[in-house]
Amino acid sequence: MRFLLKTSYEQDLRLFRDAVQRNWYIALGLALLVLPALVPTYLVDISLVFIYGLCGVSLMVLAGYTGLVSLGHAAFLGIGAYAHVYFVQDLGLPWVISVALAAAVTAGAGVLVGLPALRMTGVYLSIATLAFALIIQEVLTRWERVTHGLKGRPVDKPVIFGVSLAHDAAFYFLCLAALIGGLWLTANLLRAPTGRAWVAIRDSEIAAQSMGVNRARYKTLAFAYSAALMGVAGALFAHKVGFLAPDIFSVLLSIQFLLMVVVGGLGSLHGALFGAAFVALLPVLISEARDRVPAWAGQVVALAGKDAGAAAFLGVDRFVKQPGLEPGLFGLILVLFILFEPLGVYGRWRKVQLYFSTFPLYKRATFRRQKTYMRSERLR
């Protein structure tokens, strides 16, 4: 069992708890540095994990920390993507400035959604963001001068300070840098009064207000900040897909983002990243499975007899080639998580960690949820 001795207040402000944790993160960083050399074929998929990671952090700020569940986050991604492509390819602005402007435009859109959202809570807010997403999708379709409408528009490879990042590995590092930057800024906000104000609004608006938190200001700020991160992610996403069309930014994508934060674990940045890896890599896993699982099943069953093996191959093959397999699996996993691990992957991770760090004194009751009836007459 490890016990952390704290000797100064500064210690609680550090991003890493202690030297052990910091070394683990350094090891992870090194692993990510050599990864392009190890798995060159999957680099594009891993870049998507990083982009989705940024999206996850964005939605985590809003849904996980401020308690404002958005069902329209794909719209912010779309605004960021189209704005960036417009600035770079139509106006010819430098890449970095274009991304910053795209983030600013998206943040502005975030404020526009945030302002009416001040008077709404819970499900009504989600519906409002859903409506916003549908409107944005319509705008992206109709505003042809900028977006080229349903024809779509191709996106060039990123060129930063005159250096073309056409190579997959270069783009991988660009996405990694953006993710680390976004994580750092968000972690900073979360350990400062802003982050505490967000958590306060999530847990009790009335108490937050009585302690001096300006609800309007911090809710709008959460929307703006979350949207700005989404804008940066959108710019990278545009390069990743290489071709923008309005139907990419559908409600289904918004729901995938929500899935990300719920499966990862609401209320933690780790959770956003776990969720991103899950959502971005599951389709890759499924397509791999499509190619290989029928053959494996065929070979295994063929031990019992050749005809049975062929039949098993055909049966499994037909199953994995079902068109609806991916959304079906997503849905199933979401349901299983909500039923068995509401704290998400990160919650499970914490339990495993605690089990080992307190071995052999782990108490199951630590994480058991208790029904409480203390908040009967809540002020609204």
Binding site: T194, I206, S210, G212, R217, R378
Partner: protein, 252 residues
């Protein structure tokens, strides 16, 4: 010196008159208690002072300043902190975070400094932490610093909520039923703390309370309320003996 002044406060909820022309004054440095049967309008007074409700009529002044012109989130910075009858802590945050949020009134947003966590932001965080640690020492909360509020027993939550209010460095502390849900022993501790808050920290206390042993132990003056009207104001003994108060409680 008068710290808080309420004049002819009235509050209607639809056809129900929760408060009907309530006037009182809280003097600097005293413990002022409001008692009354259920539905008398005690908590309504608190919600008016913390600007959660808008009064139908009346005036509220704090240190001579008109409270009714301020939004709810500016009341804390003026020096008024409160607790809630049913505990409104931030349940999925640690005790430390809850207390630090109590410093929010002194932590006005400098967004860019926080975003980059510049040395100035760091120094401010340490200063807030020092202020919070003083409250932790005062209320003996050391053991619970890093626990999540959801995992704490009710009695400790009650103390944490009072601690959060103290972290705002208030001049007036509003305690809404500080002893409700506490054991006898915890209630006695609460009485000591309220006395210390007044004498050691020099904070004026306005509280709503049912437990008469606690009321008589700490209060300088007591106001009895029934059906939104003031029955009487005086010392605990005077109020308890007042015929209208006896009538309101016993219905005789």
């Amino acid at each position: 010196m008068t710290l808080l002044e309420a004049e002819q406060l009235s509050m209607n909820f639809g056809g129900i008159r929760a408060l009907d022309g309530v006037s009182f004054e809280v003097n600097s440095g005293e413990v002022f208690t409001i008692i009354g049967p259920n539905g008398a309008g005690k908590t309504t007074i608190f919600n008016l002072i913390s600007r959660i409700y808008e009064p139908t009529r009346g005036r509220l002044a704090f240190c001579g300043r008109d409270l009714l012109r301020l939004p709810a989130h500016d009341v804390a910075a003026l020096g008024i902190a409160r607790t809630f009858q049913n505990i409104e802590l931030f349940e999925h945050a640690s005790v430390l975070q809850n207390l630090l949020l109590g410093r929010h009134a002194h932590a006005r947003g400098r967004f860019v400094e926080e975003l980059l966590f510049l040395p100035r932001a760091r120094a401010r965080e340490v200063a807030h932490r020092e202020a919070v640690e003083r409250v932790i020492d005062f209320l003996d909360l050391q053991a619970h610093r890093d626990s999540l509020v959801v995992n704490l027993p009710y009695g400790v939550r009650k103390v944490v909520e009072m601690g959060r209010a103290l972290c705002t460095e208030p001049r007036l502390l509003l305690l809404d039923e500080p002893s409700s849900g506490l054991s006898v022993e915890e209630t006695e501790d609460m009485a000591f703390w309220i006395q210390d808050i007044r004498t050691v920290l020099g904070i004026t206390v306005l509280m709503v309370e049912h437990d008469m042993s606690l009321v008589s132990a700490v209060s300088d003056r007591v106001l009895a309320l029934d059906y939104g009207r003031v029955l009487t104001v005086g010392t605990t003994r005077e109020v308890q003996a007042h015929p209208d108060v006896v009538k309101a409680y016993l219905g005789a």
